[in-house]
Amino acid sequence: MKERIKEILNSFFITVTLINVAMLILGKLLEPTQVFGYEAFMYPLIYGLIGTIPSIVIRDKKELSVKQELIRKVMNMLLIIVLMLAFMFGGREITSELIAAAVGVAISIVIIFVLVNLIIWWLDLKTAKDMTEDLLKYQEKQENAIR
């Protein structure tokens, strides 16, 4: 449970940071003169929360293989896209502008999702390297103890 909470929080804060970066870049490119109030600070947090909902809801009882985990990640991402689009555009009339905006949001979500997972993987890679080094030392120690 502790590991799960840690993982969800990890993913939430990385997501919020990347949403901030995405909003900055997209805002500078599309609406450079737009002015926001303090409520703008809330959006990355809300979007980050929506992004973590699938990880909170979906729990695996069985240990998944790497392939199964990849498939689950893709399904997770699709669910985030649906939730985010429903939150942002739900109830509005479908127009060509709305479709273009929705496509833009969906692409941003894919980019952010991939980046979040790449950052987490990179952090895990460092942990794995440390563990491998400790493992080799452990094995050497055990072999010396036998001799």
Binding site: E3, R4, E7, E63, S65, V66, E69, L70, K73, N117, I120, W121, D124, L125, T127, A128, D130, M131, T132, D134, L135, K137, Y138, Q139, K141, Q142, E143
Partner: protein
């Protein structure tokens, strides 16, 4: 059960003798314990019994209600439950890495990240086993000694 320990001459072969009224499950358990301390565990393959040296075991896996012992290229079955192996082999370079696997730490060549905070152990026979999120902290601690 009374326990007698007799010191013998260094040139004599050490032995353990059990005096019992009948060879029941309690006696079998003592025999298994002694064998384990000698570095082997009992396992079956095609209804034949074998003594498997601990140093040859790569990992032990529980599948449904059965427990399988994997060597480099062969697999044996055991009547013991996985938690029993976990307890028995805790001080013998074996560690629980997921709900269903106990691995021989001496058979791991490298550790790589898998997805979702899990790690993949590559074994010397090129098989892979997964360290699940729940056991990562314990394994780190164990390897650091």
């Amino acid at each position: 059960m009374e326990i007698k320990v007799k010191e013998i001459l260094s040139e004599e072969t050490e032995y353990i003798e059990i005096g019992c009224h009948r060879r029941d499950s309690r006696v079998e358990e003592i025999i298994r314990f002694v064998k384990l301390h000698q570095g082997t565990i009992e396992a079956t393959k095609q209804e034949k019994q074998y003594q498997i040296p601990l140093s040859e075991i790569y990992y032990i896996e529980a599948v449904d209600d059965k427990t399988f012992i994997y060597l480099s290229k062969s697999c044996y079955e055991s009547h013991k439950r996985l938690y029993e192996f976990e307890e028995l082999l805790a001080d013998r370079s074996f560690a629980r890495i997921s709900k269903s696997v106990v691995v021989n730490l001496m058979k791991i060549t490298s550790i790589k990240p898998a997805l979702n905070g899990r790690f993949l152990c590559q074994l010397k026979n090129n098989e892979n086993v997964i360290i699940s999120r729940k056991y990562v902290a314990e394994i780190k601690e164990r390897l650091r000694g």
